[in-house]
Amino acid sequence: MGICSIPALAKICQKIEHSLSTTLPFEDADGDKFSVFPTLRGFYWRGRDCNDRNRNIYPGRRPENWDAQQDSNCNGIWGIDPKDGIPYEKKFCEGSEAKGLIVLGDSAAAHFHIPPEWLIAAHMSVKTFSNLPMALSNELDWPQFSGTTGFLNSTSGSPDRSIYLRLRQRNRCNHRDYQSVSKNGASSKNLLKFMGSLSRNQLLDQPAIVIYTMLGNDVCNGNIDSVSKMTTPEDMRAHVMETLTFLNSRLPPGSHVVLYGLADGRFLWDHLHDRYHPLGQLNRDVTYTQLYDFLSCLQVNPCQGWMSSNETLRTLTSERAKQLSNVLEKIAASEKFANMSLLYLDYPFKEMSEEWQRRGGQTWQLIEPADGFHPNEVASRLAAKFFWEKVLQRWPHVLGKENPFNHEIERLFGDQGGH
């Protein structure tokens, strides 16, 4: 019953527990916070280490001696052009405004996902559960497909790429420079406990775009008296200022922090309440209303405020979310930091829904079917599209220039060592 009580496994259990609580990679021989192992906070979460025996080699650092001898920043560009003796990294990346992407977020940012086929008896086979161990060792998150740091091809057929892939396409020197410091249940308050796992050296590394995205856990909880447990605007301001002070102490000059507003989760109930949950599709006997009530009764509802039949509570939750978003917007407009600029964006659910309908879809198809709560892969990638378009339109300097050598890099270095 307690597998970790077996002496031979106790040590590995402790190591896994440490990895989960600190959000640091389980397998990281040189301790540089980057890994060659995919799961357990490895390279599905932050760019793959290209040398796990040297703590001075990791994604996102400024190249050492223009990477003439070795690829010190793991972007796949290294060596010297024999024609003129100039290192390729200098030739292609110098002055290119290379930068990384860091996400401080919650389960939506980490892309929490329970595949519906795990719950639908009619479609089950050995293949259905082949990805279960991977999902379990990633806390049921799939950051490798997320709209923020996702780097693998979409499984949903979504044509929209993640923010990281767009940043990489804009400048191939950014290859592998991503970090997802996201955790299920993260809020403005508990982020302070694990944001130390962020890896950025102010002196040695490239600047970064940090996306702060906590879509709902400041107003979401499983308490019967949900409203009294929500973050207050005053607390929100204090928590965010603490996070920003920390970031300012870590980020290299020229970095940018984009504060994302909270979602208005009323769409969950509005679009799902009378639909059938995957478990109820065979016999038409489990609706999302039943699922929400069941979770509330067990006091494990991830968001009593929005996943509820009580309309007044849903409205109150949205009002508080709006107040907290206003706090973020005010901070972005009024606070100044030496090493980073602050920007604010609303969570674009309305635009996402309209765009999806334009493409022939329906709004409910943007919500994770198994949990009836999280944005699914299509929604995450749509959010990435709107993020990119807005930033490009309002603050193009944040994304850096388009690298004119991208084709040359691709021709010479192919997939740059992959991800």
Partner: protein, 122 residues
């Protein structure tokens, strides 16, 4: 994991077994084995599944054969617990005879089951 999560896990598993029986027009025993056979060996998932089926399978078979639903099975097996002063939590619509009566019937059927006396409980 809280008691609530254990309850959800049980209701999910029992529901899936129940639906596999329906889809394959087969027996509960066969479908529990089928479900375990689908799971990968990694992380001991298959072994854990077979062990769980060994421990709770006989009771689940008895109760599902009597057309009891996943809520009733999981309450009877004590994966779902009713907290004092709280309602009896259920995912499915209660059976015609009522949830309490069905549960009391289920408890009687498995009252001497060895799975209810596992050291340390569930």
């Amino acid at each position: 994991l809280s008691d609530g999560h254990s309850c959800i896990g049980c209701v999910l598993m029992v529901s899936i077994v129940e639906q596999l029986v329906q889809v394959h027009n087969s027996t509960t025993q066969e479908e529990m084995e089928r479900l375990c056979s689908y799971l990968p060996e990694k992380l001991f998932l298959k072994s854990i599944c077979y062990l769980t089926a060994e421990m709770f399978g006989p009771d689940i078979i008895k109760l599902l054969n009597l057309k009891m639903n996943a809520d009733v099975v999981c309450h009877a097996l004590q994966f779902c617990k009713q907290e004092a002063g709280q309602p009896l939590c259920h995912l499915y619509n209660p059976p015609q005879e009522g949830l309490k009566r069905a549960l009391s019937r289920a408890r009687k059927i498995i009252q001497h089951s060895p799975s209810l006396t596992i050291p340390g409980g569930l």
